[in-house]
């Protein structure tokens, strides 16, 4: 556990009520890195996208668990979102802007594209029938920080 300043894990049922819970929990944890308001919005957004994907796509039928691990390493925040759901065949295809398998649910296929543009690194591991693991690394600028912030 060297080089890790702080770490937390939460798990919750894949219920849509937990989307806002996950955003708020990670934002409160990430506050230790003194993010700007813009960075905090980006953190909430990537958590929301990843957790929503686990809930809608990972567990389309029944509710399983979503695992959320966060680590702070100096000015870097690592967020891992994992589900043990249906998984996907092709993670490269999933990353294409506007690619969605659920247009019927009014999805636009922008979630992973939004994540890519807000983080420094995104890796997706997935196996059909086993689940999906998303790892996102976000650098927090050192200098300025939000003078006031609300979770």
């Amino acid at each position: 556990m060297r080089n890790v300043d702080n770490e937390m894990t939460i798990m919750f049922l894949a219920k849509s009520e937990n989307e806002s819970f996950a955003r708020v929990a990670v934002a409160a944890f990430a506050a230790q890195t003194n993010p700007t308001l813009d960075e905090l919005t980006e953190i909430k957004t990537i958590v929301s996208e990843a957790v929503t994907n686990a809930i809608i796509h990972g567990y389309p039928e029944e509710d399983g668990y979503v695992f959320l691990h966060c680590k702070i390493m100096s000015n870097r925040l690592e967020i891992v979102v994992e589900d043990h759901g249906v998984g996907m065949r092709d993670t490269e295809e999933a990353r294409q802007p506007l690619f969605t398998t659920r247009p019927d649910l009014d999805r636009t296929g922008m979630g992973l594209t939004i994540i890519e543009s807000y983080v420094q690194a995104l890796t997706i591991e997935s196996k059909l029938g086993e689940g999906t693991r998303l790892r996102m690394v976000k650098s927090i600028a050192k200098e300025q920080s939000a003078a006031v912030y609300e979770v």
Partner: protein, 119 residues
């Protein structure tokens, strides 16, 4: 939590939806139903979404907007967005919405234009 408030302008020909709070996948379902319920009653509906007080939105919001846009277009209506905060504007631009619908800086500005264009 998402709050939505709806008003009709111009003898019911313009539906204004004022959103505040957080728009995510959890909140999207009910919002979609509420808007569609009103749209069903309108001929060539004009839909204006006022996002000024929206504190958070993710791709679920984009999905709601695109879905309503398609419905409104199918009924030969029009749709516009007013007052998106900076982070929301970023998402609208990222997904090319600014090229398919008009984005106004305020509700007042949007209504002036929408009321003016054809009766």
């Amino acid at each position: 939590m998402l709050h939505s408030h709806m008003l009709k302008e111009r003898a019911g020909s313009i539906l204004v939806v004022i959103l505040s709070g957080e728009l995510d996948h959890h909140e999207a379902a009910e919002l979609r139903l509420r808007i569609d319920h009103e749209l069903e009653k309108m001929d060539s509906p004009k839909l204006l979404l006022d996002l000024r007080d929206l504190a958070f939105m993710d791709s679920a919001g984009l999905g709601v907007f695109l879905g309503r846009y398609k419905k409104v277009l199918a009924k030969k209506g029009e749709m516009a967005i007013a007052g998106p905060p900076k982070p929301v504007m970023r998402l609208l631009e990222m997904s090319g919405f600014h090229r398919i619908m008009t984005i106004y800086t305020s509700r007042a500005e949007a209504l002036t234009v929408m009321k003016g264009v054809k009766a």
